[in-house]
Amino acid sequence: MTAPRRSLLAPDPRTIARNRAEARFRAYGLGAVGVALVALAVLLLSIFGNGSSAFYQTYLEVPVMLPEKSLDKSGTRDIEVMKKVTTVGYAKVLKTALDEAIEANGIIVEGLGKKDVGNMISDEAAAQLRNMVLADPTLVGQTIAFEMLANGRIDGYYKGRVTRESAALDSNVSPAQLDLADALAEKGLLATRFNLDFITAPDASDQRPEAAGLGVAILGSFYMMIVVLALSLPIGVATAVYLEEFAVKNRFTDVIEVNISNLAAVPSIVFGILGLAIFINFAHLPQSAPIVGGLVLTLMTLPRIIIPARAALKAVPPSIRDAALGVGASRMQSVFHHVLPLAAPGILTGMIIGLAQALGETAPLLLIGMVAFVRDYPGGLFDPATALPVQVYNWTQRADPAFVERASGAIIVLLIFLLIMNTAAIVLRRRFERRW
Amino acid sequence: MTEQHILRAFDRDLETIQAQLMKMGGMVETAILEASSALEARDDELAQKVRSADKAIDAMEERINEEAARLIALRAPIATDLRMVLSVMKIAGSLERIGDYAKNMAKRSVLLAQMPTVGSAGGSLRRMSKAVVGMLSDALDAHVSRDADLARDVLNRDREIDQMYNALFREFLTHMMEDPRNITACMHLHFIAKNIERMGDHATTIAEQVIYLVTGVMPEEDRPKADSVTSHGVDGAQS
């Protein structure tokens, strides 16, 4: 029973149907990729749209006369004496300087309230000026060019967050202030420029969003990553090598294997509770310290390092082990001379991706107190600090809309770090990948 | 080995070459029988037929050798298969020689037809031929059926041929001594007898090949010899 011969030139219905099915499937696939790309684009656009302005800041640039009369009554330039002058005193100096500058430039703005001029200067500016003077008391009595941080609302005006309409309803800013700001900008006394302080400065209070920076968070994250790297790389690799190359396959190792896989799936907040119970309540390590955060993140990262490390070891062809054993290498020599170097790119990639996950982890850190408001740079692993993602979380909780911009800016910084780490992973893999 | 090869084309090739060998054997047997009939019946025509049939036998040998060479090159035979191909080549060679003797017999019978008959030599020679043909066909059957016992039997029967030849040899001597005019005819008849005896030897060679094919070892050289001519002190000239 042979079917009548069909010409190859005339497609048969089954083939047509199969081709259609394939075309449909490709369309679904393309659609799925498209959705993913659009989602990514929307995410990036919204974050960059909100956050890129955090890297710019509005400053008032006026000459500031530092009067000896109010800042150093004794005239001795003794730091201890000068410290008695609080930021209030410096705020007056700044206001005077701004008043004089307005007058000197002949700017007249109607409807300015009594405190409106002074309120245009950020509270932080006085603190900055005080620190500057205390660091160099010889400045007293001189007139210096000082860049005052503008108030967050004025800054918001130049970033589109504050308009005359919203200012009319806002008790913290008046339309007259905005007029004044415009006039100052015209004279070149007010400018918006790149804001390095956002990366380096510590966090600031609710009233001073314009001064808030990521310095402490970045340092805290950095310390934690050092702890995670120093602990999880040796422990993770040793575990993977032992389980993959040396351990006898029995029920016990099976249980360990299953548990490692399960650990990787445990929600990270559980590790936070564990850290709280063990490291803080039991071991009495300080709260908010990078050491505790690092330990908790190490626990969380370990299974995520062990699993790819084992996969990398498994991917090394057995023929290489045979070859080494065949010329009389011991088990350990074959692992350390041949298998491990070949698996290194995979292990490193897993390591970096694990670190990147740890870097972005928030939940467990909240539980061990790393969410605290920290103004001082941590000097070591045991000093209080915060972490980048926690800082993001923290800022999104604050009332002032200026913090939305800060939070998005912090996300951008975090994303850039993650991008750098992932790029490093790819570069490492490319560089060390060897063919066999 | 009755089992089939995994590659069936190999089996077909082996069967083909075996069949060709059997066909050649049949042609040779016919040639011997017809040559002996022609001799006894002084039938010139039959003798001519035998002479021309020999060309076909030679062609057949060539074909078998080619087939064997092809089989060795393409199938790389091993063990039994290798022995099979080797034995076929050797047997084909032997058959070709037998065919040549039959042709020679036919040639001489044409000459003898113009001479007076000498005794009952024609009948004796035909009987001898028949015995040889019997040996030959048994040897070939043994080859087909891989029957070493039958082949050994053929080896033993060579003695009978030798004895028949010895008897004829003495008879021819007597005739020649009686009447020197018989010498020419008797010389021819003697050559014929010698040729038939040689055919017997070749049939023996074939039987030996069968034993090699089946056992992988050549039989020991203790073949029964009953050729007493040399002991008579007379040189049996051979063609």
Binding site: G326, V327, G328, A329, R435 | M1, I6, I78, A79, T80
Partner: protein, 265 residues
């Protein structure tokens, strides 16, 4: 067949190098090798043939205890190398494997330079005292593996960049570098083209002058070409062991006959 014996004895010593008595191998419950008795001669190429899964590779790997790496594998019986039981408690397999080198089915050079590949064995066994000696060993091994002339100008190029046949000869050089007494080869040519195969076969024939070579092969023709002794394994049994010439012209056992002549059996 007779002249083969002549050429063999011309090589010289026909001492027994490895002698196996009543060897049994179990993989868990599976009885993989049953009662194998064999005597492998010095300076002789011995071929193990047999259908897949017949135990020939398993038995080969018993000879340098490569089976030790498989936890469920158990070996019984005696395997003596020069009269010493290699499964004795006091024998360290690492030392044994330096004496009984191995070449695998797939060329498996380390992803390192050609030089480092060959130097690896001598280095880990501390066979040389200085760089000059090591250089000497590397050159000698590569010469023995008939590879020196092809690679002498690029000793520091990666070994994985060589062609398949060259890689396999590099693996042989690597095995030879530890000055073994026996070379085990597990289907060394199965991944090679005919020319490379011929080169490796020629090399095996040359190695016979110095080593006892045991080769597992699926190619009957290869066994016939390179070996002087052939052992036929079937279902874990050593069915027949003898002169290669005899095995291939008049095998004694019908199972051997069926297998080598390509019949269902």
């Amino acid at each position: 067949m007779n002249d083969m014996r002549v050429s063999e004895s011309a090589v010289g010593a026909q001492d027994v190098k490895i002698s196996a008595r009543k060897v049994q191998v179990f993989y868990g419950e599976n009885h993989a090798i049953k009662d194998v008795d064999v005597e492998i001669l010095d300076r002789t190429v011995t071929a193990f043939i047999g259908p897949s899964g017949c135990g020939k590779s398993t038995f080969l790997r018993c000879l340098n205890r490569m089976n030790d790496t498989i936890p469920i594998c158990r070996v019984e019986g005696d395997i003596m190398l020069d009269g010493e039981d290699i499964y004795d408690r006091r024998v360290d397999p690492v030392q044994l494997r330096a004496k009984v080198g191995m070449v695998f089915q797939k060329p498996n050079p380390f992803p390192k330079s050609i030089y480092d590949n060959v130097a690896y064995g001598p280095r880990i066994h501390g066979l040389t005292r200085n760089k000059a000696e090591l250089d000497e060993v590397v050159e000698q091994s590569l010469r023995r593996a008939a590879l020196w002339n092809e690679v002498k100008d690029r000793l520091h190029a990666p070994g994985t960049g060589l062609s398949g046949g060259q890689q396999q000869r590099l693996c042989i050089a690597r095995a030879v570098a530890t000055s073994p007494e026996v070379l085990l080869m597990d289907e060394p040519c199965s991944a090679l083209d005919p020319i490379a195969t011929a080169q490796v076969e020629e090399l095996i024939d040359e190695l016979r002058a110095n080593f006892s070579v045991v080769i597992v092969t699926h190619s009957m023709q290869q066994a016939a070409r390179v070996s002087q002794k052939t052992a036929f394994f079937h279902l874990g049994n050593l069915v027949e062991y003898g002169e290669t010439g005899d095995i291939f012209t008049r095998p004694q056992d019908p199972r051997t006959e069926s297998y080598i002549s390509g019949r269902i059996g």
